[in-house]
Symmetry: C2
Subunit: 196 residues, 2 copies
């Protein structure tokens, strides 16, 4: 934008790269920063760098870890149950549900058409740790790739003394039955739960 000092234009450009931030919002944010205290701006700048400097990926579970501690090392978690997810960021979502077991991140889904085979995923490490657990929860996307990967894991562990579960499929809370697609409805019949 004309009339803006160069540094401000630079910040607008950087803000515009963030998801969901358009040109107008980026300008508004940049002007807000210009008017913020030095302390607030330094704090945001440091917070950005800290995230990249302090957060690593655990070599086994591929969960994020900080100070050499990943979420599976936290006390008070159920160490009998392991939840397999696609991305390390899926862990934050799962935590919101109240799940309190361990996690294992695959870093992808099997997708032969895209050239992603089981050996490209973090499955070798899963084989190393699986014996410690009594239950494996497969929490992958309800897509062809997610289903393929789930089936692969079920087959892989079929001879293990291990309970394997997957997330329930059905009607999302708060939705109206009128707007549910047939496949979801079919799954919610298949997974129906006895209530009496």
């Amino acid at each position: 934008m004309q009339g803006m000092p160069e540094s401000l234009l630079g910040l607008v450009e950087n803000f515009s790269k963030l998801p969901g931030v358009g040109k107008k919002t980026a300008e508004r944010l940049a002007i807000y920063i210009l008017q913020s205290s030095n302390d607030d701006v330094t704090s945001l700048s440091d917070a950005l760098l800290n995230v990249k400097q302090n957060i690593e990926v655990d070599s086994i579970s591929h969960c994020f870890k900080e100070n050499d501690l990943c979420i599976n090392d936290t006390p008070d978690r159920d160490s009998n149950i392991l939840c397999v997810v696609q991305h390390a960021t899926d862990v934050f979502l799962m935590e919101k549900s109240g799940y309190k077991g361990h996690y294992h991140v695959l870093d992808g889904l099997i997708s032969p058409l895209d050239g992603i085979l089981p050996e490209d995923l973090n499955i070798a490490n899963l084989l190393d740790v699986i014996k410690k657990y009594k239950e494996l929860v497969v929490a992958l996307d309800p897509t062809p790739q997610g289903d393929t990967t789930s089936l692969y894991l079920i087959d892989l562990f079929k001879n293990y003394d291990l309970e394997i579960t997957r997330l329930a499929r059905g009607v999302p809370i708060g939705s109206s039955l009128d707007y549910i697609d047939e496949l979801t409805l079919a799954y919610s019949f298949e997974d129906r739960v006895k209530v009496k």
Copy 2:
């Protein structure tokens, strides 16, 4: 959010302070940063600090300046016309309109009820520079405080050889006449323009 590394929580907190950024958006932005390249994050972090370090306020016009150059020092601007605005950030708005003269920032509006008097504003510097200009455009908010300040300036310069104008008031472009308030409509009658 549970399960998030501490540095990520810190970034979420910092993002939440930005205007229009709620908890959910802050989380989404923080996760985006976590997945961005080191270069992109360093670039954003530097851009934030640059804004605070490089941008100063001109001692006379109170416009923002960088590298010791404020917008009034830019060549190819009309040095006969001076636009008075409330905030230094208003300059960015005015620039979008295509205005190409100089600017003077008051840093506020006269508001006796809030204890803001003419001597609290950047008016002494205006008196120093006004003789260089042929026209003064008063571009203040159409509010009681804005109007008071405009009238004060008009009175202050009544004996100067200076044309004084204010921004036209009327129907905003793209709006429907059905939804315009009576006062705006009254102004658009008063400021009506001869077309034939």
